[in-house]
Symmetry: C2
Subunit: 328 residues, 2 copies
């Protein structure tokens, strides 16, 4: 049924090793022989068994990629960046997906570990530092957007990014700025911290509400503050997705944006761009993060013993249509 390398070798009248070498394009194989082997293999529809290859060679050249959530285009952008450098480097990508709640992180990582991928690039890990610690032994990890102790980290400066957003709002004249934050979890405090700092520095009173990463939850979470006393004139959301949830809630109440309320998102995903949305947001340059992560992963593969690598990139503010001076 399944064609093995042995079958190809017999058919081509050569030894197994030669077939193996030919397939990996190694030097030291006569060109004619190689072509012949490849032709025979092609005719027989031979597909190498990578389980056997992995076992025999104790590893793969495949990169594992963990993405938190397929519904957030941020991760698609990161993936594009990874692929941009992994492809030319001859590295293939095997993905695994987590979930907004974080409860699928573990099985997703475990699957990658068992698949014996060379290095794992994880974007948006939600596991705590403690839960991640055991993986140090079984995994070469490049973490994107979330700082993991002792691992390679590719980060964006969230404190700075949040500061950019708040300063923009402050400059427009806002004082009652609410932050719709993500649930507390290790490695994700930056945006909230940047918000707190900028507010305090300006002598404005910070107010934080928490919601998970989904758009609908965000709309629910912001509802009470919109309906309560002294509603904010501006809302700084944890990311674009939750900002869209805020927009939904605002729309439902016939509150105009930006005339009545200003909204700032975070990530600059394409969901923020449409003319009808035109969300002011902070660009993390996700593609660049992906490229840097792939570079870090390849470097790590080449030198497993090197010191942990860390880059922190600088985000930028993208002002669009959802921010303006507060109503007077």
């Amino acid at each position: 049924m399944k064609v093995t390398m042995e079958d190809v070798a017999r058919e081509a009248g050569v030894s197994r090793s030669l077939v193996s070498l030919a397939f990996r394009g190694a030097y030291g194989v006569n060109e004619a022989t190689r072509d012949h082997i490849l032709a025979v293999a092609g005719r027989m529809n031979y597909q190498p068994n990578s389980a056997a290859a992995t076992l025999a060679s104790r590893g793969t050249s495949t990169l594992g990629v963990f993405l938190l959530d397929l519904h957030n285009e941020l991760f698609a952008d990161v993936h594009d960046g990874i692929r941009e450098v992994a492809g030319p480097a001859g590295r293939e990508l095997l993905l695994t997906v987590g979930s907004i709640g974080g409860n699928l992180d573990r099985p997703a990582l475990d699957l990658l570990v068992r698949a014996r991928v060379d290095v794992v690039i994880a974007a948006g890990l939600l596991l705590s530092d403690d839960e991640l610690a055991p993986y140090r032994r079984s995994l070469k990890l490049v973490s994107v957007m979330r700082e993991v102790p002792e691992a390679d980290n590719v980060l964006s400066d969230n404190v700075l990014g949040a500061g950019l957003a708040i300063d923009h709002l402050l400059g427009l004249g806002h004082r009652r700025i609410v932050h719709l934050a993500s649930p507390r979890s290790d490695g994700y405090g930056g945006r909230r911290e940047g918000y707190m700092r900028a507010m305090k520095q300006a002598g404005a009173k910070p107010r934080v509400v928490v919601s998970d990463y989904s758009r609908t939850e965000a709309a629910k979470a912001i509802a009470p503050v919109l309906d309560g006393a002294a509603p904010p004139t501006a809302i700084f959301a944890h990311n674009d997705q939750t900002a869209l949830g805020v927009l939904d809630a605002l729309h439902l109440r016939n509150l105009r944006v930006p005339e009545d309320v200003s909204v700032v998102g975070y990530d600059n995903t394409s969901a923020s761009r449409p003319p009808g949305i035109a969300l002011t947001t902070v660009d993390v340059h996700a593609g660049r993060l992906g490229r840097l992560a792939a570079e870090a992963a390849i470097a790590r593969a080449a030198d497993p013993a090197a010191d942990p690598h860390e880059v922190r990139t600088t985000p930028s503010l993208v002002v669009r249509g959802t921010t303006a001076a507060p109503p007077r």
Copy 2:
């Protein structure tokens, strides 16, 4: 360095086979022994090598998933559906991603083949029937949204869906309806065909322009027809993404939607839902497609020899804010 099953067996004072059985929760292992083995393994941080397992057992229980494009949330919805049934069935998911141009389909599928996944669920394959044919021998394939000869197919009735959209437009009084179609490729003709049929049946003159699947390309492709003589009063796009591109182009020209031009998308991805967009679209019920595909995959794994399975689901029209009577 790496802990093997042998190490665990030695440490636990049992044989390798027993460790193997314990790990797979097989019957016939004394409960106390099993607990002991698992405890020892846990302490040693043992991670089974699935390459070896795959090799020895000639297969995996993992499902491979191919998704055409991470930027189109349709695929995230399909993925959710797959996971919804695969999870409870104890099947893990390994993903691979193609690209809008279709040129990454092959490497992505090959990677899955070599990983020896049990069955591959492919959503949005762009390869031609001919290019797909060889995979018949190396792969159990469940194709979603694209009919592949001899494979298991989980489809949505695109002819019907397009008819729904056009009939809606026709009912509103539109006659000059342009279809922004996808490039011709096997298995994707349904929407165009449904458009042609509905137009002809109403005695309206069809007009088709083609663009690839990206938003920006769609905006470019529709530009000349907007700027040309006798511009359409309605545009039926191949999917939501390209419909958004159309919206962009319209916005750029200060054309109002739906007062000046009506727009209908396809897929009902979440990108079509925001209040500011409110795109009228055709819902393919992507989650359901995913669930059906996972069921088909599991059935196929259980009985590789069964006759090809085919389901064709019925889409529905979601009328929102981008369609209205044409200007008079």
